[in-house]
Amino acid sequence: MKELLRVSDLKAYYQLRLGEKLRAVDGVTLTLHEGEVLGIAGESGCGKSTLASCLSGLFFPPLRYNGGEIILDGIDVIRADKQTLRKSILGKKISFIPQSAMNALNPTLKIGDFIADVMQEHEPNLSREETIKRAEERFELLSLPKDVLKAYPFELSGGMKQRTIVVISTLMNPEVVVADEPTSALDVSSQKQVISLMKRLLEMKITKSMIFITHELPLLRHVADRIAIMYAGVILEIGTMSQIIFAPRHPYTEILMSSVIVPEKGIRGRRLPLISGRPPDLRKRIKGCRFADRCPYVTEECKASEPDMKEVDGREVRCIHPLKKKEVEQNVII
């Protein structure tokens, strides 16, 4: 499969007051192929949203580029001219669906007019009527009600607004869709509808691939083909969905997985892992493994130097002594 996005050793820091730097993304490497959904999971503050926001190659202060490479469909977006980036990449090659995207709808405009305004920016040659017609066709194709285009945002439910946003941001058939917690403000049934829509877009080949960022692992179980687990600015483990969800090798992934609570047999009465502490302060240089302070299997070696990514059993793990296959299975299926 064609490689659509390659991120290598990307570093993006927030410039704070007093010259301090917050190393939000501190050396991330990943790839995304055609037809693939890559899930990025981690706790709040792990850098997953920051990573998402840099993928277009545009860095908005206080966020600053600090090294690494992003190749988006063959284009080196870090070195590309920013003006052309905005014009030729946003919406066409890469499209974002941020956290509370539905609030981005202009409350004073009908959805159709809003779409026309937005598209004017990207396709100045297209007339308003043509744009609205194109949107109508897309709504029909996805079996969504066309009437939405004639409605004001306040007349729509939260789920419908978010689905509308999904349609708008994929109107130009982007190769990569980056969705950052697209459903965290919705109730479960709307969440299912929005995610079904995103999956359908992929199946219909309207979009080519997706990066799905969330803190909810059960969601990724159903959405993602591969999953990356982020912690304190780096990826600790990256592998296929079933490797990560059902047989994690990094102690952090294991703890993350066993703290999942879903309405399912065997959950009641299960002991949840008790770990304390919080992720390290990203303003300071971190020596050793970033999870060492909280890891139940920590050794002296772990604190000496930061472990590199290494291949274990078909996936990559940033750990000196990853969990063994057997104990992994015991810990997961209880």
Partner: protein
Amino acid sequence: MSSSNNVILKVKELTKVFSSGRRKVIAVDHVSFDIHKGEIVSLVGQSGSGKTTTAHMILNLLKPTSGNIVFEDKDIKYVNKRAYWQNVQGIFQDPFSSFNQFFVVKKVLRDTFKILDKSFNNKEKDRIIVKALEDVNIDPDDVLEKYPFELSGGQMQRIMIARIFIIKPKLVIADEPTSMIDSILRANILELFEKLRNIQGTSIMFITHDIGLAYYVSDRIFIMHNGKIVEEGDAEQVIMNPNHPYTKGLIEDVPTLHKEWLLTKGS
């Protein structure tokens, strides 16, 4: 279980209508249920179901339009609010906004003593505060002189539970107490609620939208939808064998690890 002397709180036909001008919204619609001594129950509903309004009415922060709330055989309409709050307390969703950001933790916890009838001097208060913080696994020296924004969400929520350990109420209404806490720290908080129940015999009512959480922690579950309780019963029963179509749909819509969830393939 259902013998009446075991019931600590009885809610009868509780109704709340919000009206603005001519428009009336029935937020809570003739809701009835019991909570037993030492029981953990969950009131589960999506946003707009009326669960938070119900919680506020039980906490006596909001007056019902009609219906009764009976705590230990007395209608709370006729009970002095102070006396009621000595027995029924709350924990809210956002630990950061549960604290006044202008005060350090010590001051916040000392203020808690106002609700108690007995008066304490600062030394006695501090001794009880230290004990309560130890109960919730926090090193007092770490937090007492800190402002809320210097602490993590998990620490703050544990301090809110320390407050409960000081007041020792008989019933705690916990409104989404873990929804803003990272999942790997959630277990620490849930464990404390268990401890509260096991040590002090406290009854706990979780108000939540998270069905998995409700299933994990509760003895009984009430499912709320459009202001009404549509299904209630033993947690195992309600979640594994739901009867009401709404409950069935709700549980189907929650992604789990082993059941198929999205059925779009090929469509």
